[in-house]
Amino acid sequence: MPQDQKLLKYSSEYSDELSLDDELKKIRSCIQCGMCSAVCPSGSFTALVTRKIMRKALAGDHSVLSGPEIWYCSTCFNCYERCPRTIPVTNVILRLRNMAVREGYLPDNLKSVIKNLANTGHAVPLGGPDSKWAKLRELHKLKKVPPTVHSFPEALDELFTLLDKIKFNARIPYR
């Protein structure tokens, strides 16, 4: 099997929920020009070299999933806009992250945010009606608890049902 097929085959094993591989296939047209890295702000501050990410992904190099580099992207979409081969580079990185998560490579700090969403419906929850944030809302003359999922228990049940339906908790066991 050609090298570039490996990652695509690998990704198809995880496309049970949706067919999302079209974007990933576009990396086949990468010419390694380095435009994506030249316009990447993260590249100035971290070890992220988007050009290398594209090359490794194309070669089916597993270290692209196990390494931390794909998580250094702030998704500013500069690379997406500038790629002369119109590869949606940012989306490819996001897709690689999905695959990395299934392999168990998720930065620790993200786990609590996932837990927050899966349990409360908010990535950044209020912390209850007695929290300092609820008090701050009151000082701003707002309802203590916002009219989001926080105020509607039935909406939270709806969220849990939908998460079960897409087998989220089975696939991403961080709740």
């Binding site: 702000p41 998704t75 945010v113 701003h140």
Partner: protein
């Protein structure tokens, strides 16, 4: 007779009563930066814009963390949020956040343009008798100010010409991907935010790295905070060079990154480098001030009874300056 007169006055005071939106709050605004919610609700009310809450809305879900973790989750919950605006009988969903806009606008786009995704996500939603019928358009507050209200009408709202020197931060997801965004402007040379700020009587001061990301997005702040602060520090240093009264944002996550971030970058400063103390305000706060309203009506207070709350950088120098600026009418009277 009195009744008619009152109605007339209301029409003058509330000039945009033809506008109606479902308001999507997200997470950071209601739960960390409620002053943005306060200012925005206050200003929309004064403009007569009809706002309908999106009861039971969840996280958009955030494009950085959740799109990275699982695209199916991202699409499912995003589409569920769209159905809330639909069931409110509104066609326009208004978000005050670039990240929520990025997610909801792209989910809207996927649901409308990709039949396979539309079918599969609606199958999931059917479990709770929900169905996204494509009748909702996702809007961002800048887009509403720029298109629905428009520059000329914005100019007519100004009762206090502030003439502030502002550093505008656009953020990323309102500009890119350009193919799916609203403004039809070059993402490398956008002007809509500058045009709005100038229309309401302040100056947009150019600075290097103006269009660079704040560093918070993509789960970078959550996962690797020090790396994310490097972006913020680079931008803050450029902003300091040109000298401004405040930074103006249209996204609560950028807002947080610049506000709390100024405290957090302290440990990254060079030896002897001065700490940052630049007030950060949201576009609806600047608009409210320009309309002549008081800072406290716009959430520009710092409660002393609570510790560790937003804003982390004091508004004081800005408020002091604004206090000294009279209403335009008073100036004319002189």
């Amino acid at each position: 007779m009195t009744e008619i007169k009152e109605k007339k006055e209301e029409l003058i005071e509330k000039p945009f009563s033809d506008l109606k939106y479902s308001l999507y709050l997200g997470c950071v605004i209601p739960n960390r930066y409620p002053m943005i919610e306060r200012a925005s609700r206050f200003v929309f009310d004064k403009l007569g814009i009809e706002i309908i809450d999106m009861n039971g809305a969840t996280c958009c879900p955030a494009p950085g963390v959740f799109r990275s973790v699982d695209k199916a989750l991202w699409l499912t919950l995003g589409a569920r949020n769209l159905t809330i605006a639909q069931n409110n009988n509104t066609t326009e969903l208004l978000t005050l956040c670039n990240g929520c806009f990025g997610t909801l606008h792209e989910v809207e786009h996927e649901m409308k343009s990709n039949p396979e995704i539309n079918k599969r996500i609606n199958e999931v939603l059917a479990e709770k008798n929900l169905h996204f019928d494509g009748s909702v358009n996702v809007r961002q507050v800048m887009d509403v100010l720029y298109f629905d209200i428009g520059l000329e009408r914005l100019k007519s709202l100004v009762k206090r010409t502030l003439n502030l020197r502002t550093a505008i931060h656009y953020g990323c997801h309102i500009l890119k991907p350009a193919t799916t965004q609203l403004f039809g402007q070059d993402p490398d040379n956008p002007t809509f935010f500058d045009e709005v700020v100038e229309a309401i009587g302040s100056k947009s001061i150019d600075y290097r790295e103006k269009l660079m990301c704040c560093g918070a997005g993509g789960s970078l702040r959550t996962g690797f905070k020090d790396s994310s602060l490097q972006y913020t520090l680079a931008k803050l240093r450029e902003i300091r060079k040109v000298g401004v009264d405040c930074i103006v944002v249209c996204c609560p996550f950028c807002h947080l990154q610049f506000d709390l971030g100024q405290v957090e970058v302290s440990k990254l400063l060079d030896e002897g480098e001065e700490e940052f103390r630049i007030p950060v305000i949201f576009i609806t706060q600047l608009l409210g001030l320009a309309m002549g309203y008081e800072p406290e009506d716009l959430g520009m207070i710092k409660p002393t009874e609570l510790k560790g709350i937003s804003p982390f950088i004091s508004f004081d120098p800005l408020l002091k300056k604004i206090e000294s600026i009279p209403l335009d009418e008073a100036k004319r009277d002189k």
